[in-house]
Structure formats: C-alpha cells, structure tokens
Symmetry: C2
C-alpha cells in the first residue's frame, strides 16, 4: 500500500550532494571522491536505495537481461542447462528472462518479438530456430542471438552444439564392435538439426562398414512417440539386437517398453544406446550407455560468446562444436557371444 519509491534524488538530498553524484557512486568506474562516496553510500543504505535497472537501461541501452527460449523442459538436459546458464549469467550480473514455446514449435518469431520488447541484451534459443527474417531484425537491433543445441545456416547466428555427427558415428562403431548384427534407430523430431546430424553420423558409419539400418522409427523426442516406435520395432519376428535412440529421455521410455511390456532383457536380447547423458542415465535402474553432451562446457561457451558479443558489437558470430565421449554402461553388451545371440 505505502508504495514508496526511493530515488537517487532523495538520496542526494539526504547526503547533501547532487543527483549526479549519487548516480556516479553506483556507476562502476565513475569519478567520485572518497568522501562523497561514503556520504552517499550511508544515505543510500539508510533509505534502502537501490538503482532502478529499468531506468538505467533506458539511458545505457543495456538491460542486463538475456532472453531464453526453451521448448523441452521435460527432457532433463534442458533444466540442467537452464540452471547452469542462469547461474553463470547471474555471476556476470545478467539475468534470464524465460520464454516457453510448444514443443511442436510454431511461430518462434512472435515469441522473439516479445523478447525484443524487453530490450534484452542477447537471446539464447535452446533447441529452437528462428526465421532468417527475424535473424536480421535481431542483427539490426544489435541483439546477438545464440542457438543452443541446434544448428541453422545463417551467419548472423552463433551456434553451440555438441558434435552430433561424431556422436552418432561413435555409437555405430561401438555397436558394430560389440558384434551387433541388426542395428536399429529411433529418431528424434526430424526438423531438428541435432536429430539429423546424429542420424547421419550413425548411418554414414554403418555404411562405411558395409552395414545398413535394420529398422528405423520416429520418436520425435517425445516419450509417448518413442514408446509407440519401440512397440512397433520390437514386435516383428526378428527384432533388432541393438537400438540407438536419439535422446536419453526417449531411451528410458524405450527401455521400459522392452523390459516391462515385452519382457526382453537389456542388454542380453537387445542393446540400447542413448544420447545426452542426463543424470538419470547413470541411475542403476537404467545404466544407459550414451553419448555425453557436456552441458557445462556448452553453457560456458554460450555465456562467453554472448558476453563477448554484448561487449563488442562487432564480434563475429561463432560456431562451436563440442565433442562428448561415449559413456559405456550396462545397457549394451560388448562381446558378440552374448546369450541372446543365436546364429
């Protein structure tokens, strides 16, 4: 009710100085004598004064707000990334304004327009892409845009991903080395660059070794779809003896179907490999072999790129690919004389 706002002017009066003096005290690097600094600080803390970031940004043109667009908060990779991102940016004096979009990802453009209304200093699109028209709008507005875990061919955008192609390739090599004969794939949403890269890395390597996909279904990065895909894939006569699932999140659903609906054993009857290495993957109930996406390193790169772009408007967009190791766990067999094999 008693909505009192303390402004720099009131602090100035109490401290017996000008408003500019107060402003300078709270502006790092400004010229203030030790004495006024003390007077002002004392007055400020007495009144409980804190500079109004919004008013400040009107002048400086910097809001210290980063817009973040996220779609898949149900895939644990993203909450983790969000936490890391927010923490890292917080340390640098920035904060994250969140925008959720539907998974099926309609008009990101409208959302980004909303983001721009807040005069954000930068935009991070997690697993989402934007129209090239909008990209140039952001560019014109001097707002750097970073794609996180998604690629797009636009040289005004920075991109941070893991090396999805290499990841897929590693999985193929590993499964072949493990003696698997009927190797299958459950894809993510086919509009996603990450999905495409993982698959082509995987399939390319199979081909290179004279193999081809034994089966393929679409999971769309959605658990329900992945379950459906698994049911279809594993109810034929001769089921695959290995399946690479495009995300851990889907892989868990697939494993549950394989074990609890179909009564098959992992890895005896079928090996399962995921992608992401979210924490759950290491839980003994799943113990999932998977390709690690190093969220911490990806976030670190993202933050450093965005801060750099903010500081120096003329920084060129960068494209970073971080490679993650294949983490071998118990959901895959490694020799070819496994009990489930009978040829």
């Amino acid at each position: 009710m008693a909505t009192k706002k303390i402004t720099s002017l009131e602090v100035a009066k109490l401290a017996g100085v000008s408003q500019s003096a107060v402003s300078r005290v709270f502006t790092p690097g400004a010229s203030v004598s030790k004495k006024t600094n003390e007077k002002v600080r004392k007055a400020a803390s007495k009144l409980g004064y804190r500079p109004n970031i919004l008013a400040r940004s009107l002048i400086t043109g910097k809001s210290r707000i980063i817009g973040l667009v996220v779609a898949h908060l149900d895939n644990y990779f993203y909450p983790e990334a969000l936490e890391l991102l927010s923490n890292a940016l917080q340390k640098k004096g920035y904060h994250v304004l969140v925008f959720m979009v539907a998974k099926t990802a309609g008009n990101i453009d409208d959302i980004v327009d909303e983001i721009l209304d807040y005069q954000v200093d930068g935009i991070i699109l997690a697993s989402v892409s934007m129209s090239s028209n909008l990209a140039s709008r952001c560019n014109a507005a001097g707002v750097p845009v970073i794609l996180f875990n998604r690629t797009q061919d636009d040289d005004r955008l920075s991109v941070v991903t893991s090396d999805n192609f290499l990841g897929g390739k590693q999985v193929a090599q590993f499964l072949i080395a493990g003696g698997h004969k009927r190797i299958a794939y459950i894809s993510g949403w086919e509009g996603a660059s990450t999905q495409r890269d993982r698959e082509s890395g995987f399939v390319d390597e199979l081909k290179k070794q004279g193999r081809s996909l034994y089966a393929r279904e679409v999971g769309n990065f959605i658990q329900d779809d992945a379950r459906q895909a698994a049911r279809k894939m594993f109810t034929n006569d001769e089921i695959p003896d290995a399946v690479f699932v495009a995300s851990d999140d889907m892989a868990f659903a697939v494993m549950d179907v394989i074990r609890f609906e179909l009564g098959l054993k992992i890895p005896e009857h079928v090996s399962v490999v995921g992608y992401d290495d979210v924490p759950i993957a290491s839980w003994p109930a799943y113990d999932l072999t998977t390709v690690r996406q190093p969220a911490n390193r990806m976030v670190a790169e993202t933050v450093s790129i965005i801060l750099e772009s903010i500081q120096d408007q003329d920084t060129k967009p960068r494209r970073i690919q971080i490679d993650g190791p294949l983490i071998m766990r118990g959901s895959t067999r490694i020799s070819n004389n496994a009990s489930g094999e009978n040829e």
Copy 2:
C-alpha cells in the same frame, strides 16, 4: 552494427500525428479515432516499431516481469512447475525472470534485492523462504510475494502448498493398512516447512494408531544424502519393511540402493513410498507409490493470486493448501501376507 532503434516519435512523423497519438494506439483502452489508429498501425508495421517495455514501465510502474527464485531444478517437480508457471504467465502478458539459488540456500535476501532492482511486479519463491525484514521491504515496495511449495509464518506473504500434513498422514494410514510393522522415514532438508509437515503428518498418524517410527534418517532432499541414508538404514539386522521417503527424487535413489546395492526386492522385502508424483514415478522401472502434488493446480492458484495482487494493491495475502491423492503403484505391497514377511 547498424543499431537503429525505432521510437514512437519516428512512427508519429511518418504517420503525420503526434507522439502521444502513437502511444495511445498501443495503449489498450486509450482514446483514438479509427482513422489515426489505422495510419499509426500502418506506419508502425512499416518501420517495424514495437513499444519499449522498459521505457513504458518507467511511467506506469509496471514491468510485466515476475521474479522467480528456484533452488532445486534437479528435482523434476520444479522444472515442471516452472514450465507451467511460465506458460500461464506468458498467456497473461507477463514473463518470468529466473534467479537460481544454491540448495543450501544462504542469503535469499541478497537475491531478492537483485530482483527488486528489476522493478518486478511480483515475486515467486519456489521452495525458498525470505527474512521477515525483506518481506516488509517487498510489502512497502508494493511487490507481492508468493511462497510456492514452502510455508512461512508471515502474514504479508501468500503461500501455496500441497497439504503436506495430510499427505504424510495418508501414507501412514496406507502403510499400516498394508500390514507393515517396521515403518521408517527418510526426511528432506529439516529447514523446509514441507519436510516438517510431511513428517509430522506421518508420525502423528503412526502414533494415533499406536505405532512409532522404526527408523529415521536424513536425506536433505539430496540424492547422495538419501543414498547414504538408505545404506545406513538397510544394513542393520532387522531392516524396515516400509520406508516413506520425503520426495520422489530421493525415493528413486533409495530404491536403486535397495535393489542394486543390497539386492533386496521392492515391495517384497520393503515397500517404498515417495512424495510429489513426478513423471518418473510412473515409469515402470520405479512404479512408485507416492503422494501427488498437483503442480498444475498449485501453479494455477499461484498465478491467480499474483495477478490479483498486482491488479489490486490492497488484496490480502492468501494461504492455499491443495490436497493431493495418494497414488498407489507397485512399490508397495498391500496385504500383510507378503513373501518377505516371516513372523
């Protein structure tokens, strides 16, 4: 580079009207003729003009930003809540500014100060509490504060929780009815009101039925701690035949220890109950009996309270308790002639 900003003044010029006219066109409910409305809209879209929210909020005192403080993004209940919250607020034209805090939750006060700097219209504290001193600061600043999934005795704060006491009670009744004799509890962080309420509801009901806790360990809402607790609890001579774990997240860790480290069967040797009903609880690998915290209803209440408080400064803080059902699944046995029982 070409950081051009289109302001209302430029639109005004192009449309041949005053700046005020432009402002009115973009202010719902302001007085504008049909003709000027058209002229302005055309000019605006031609230039790609959009009002600067920050400048606007300097005048109106409303930023359309809600500050959200979160601690436990690793417990899936919170990402889920965040997603729901952000979506609901987005629909109402608000957006969420995220602030992460350490789990051990030191000075929330400093964080809230930072939040206030952004002139947020409201603050949501998820599973976190604030000093009463700061509560009055927010109150004085006219910023409503809502505790989400945490209680605190301060009548300037609104509170939305599930009925944790009732939840604990239900679990006790259910376990007793299931014929369990040695009932144990693994607690959350003891500083949390949710933890305290769950435990007292549980223990009270045990007492009421002439029972008492057979064993108790502290898990702090942290998986590692919960694992430790489980190891301790289940390596004595006579282990509990049922354990209530204060959160699903911890319960999964406990189940993994019980099954994969100690080689015991759930529910044959021991029944496990969790709290939250996060999606993973329903995955067949865990199939966890648990008390549902209805995130959607909790969020809906939170949003409606916060919007109301923003609209009418004199709204009194509210305290909402939403009760959730016990969801019975396969991690608990229900009759007392189970195979693991031998007395």
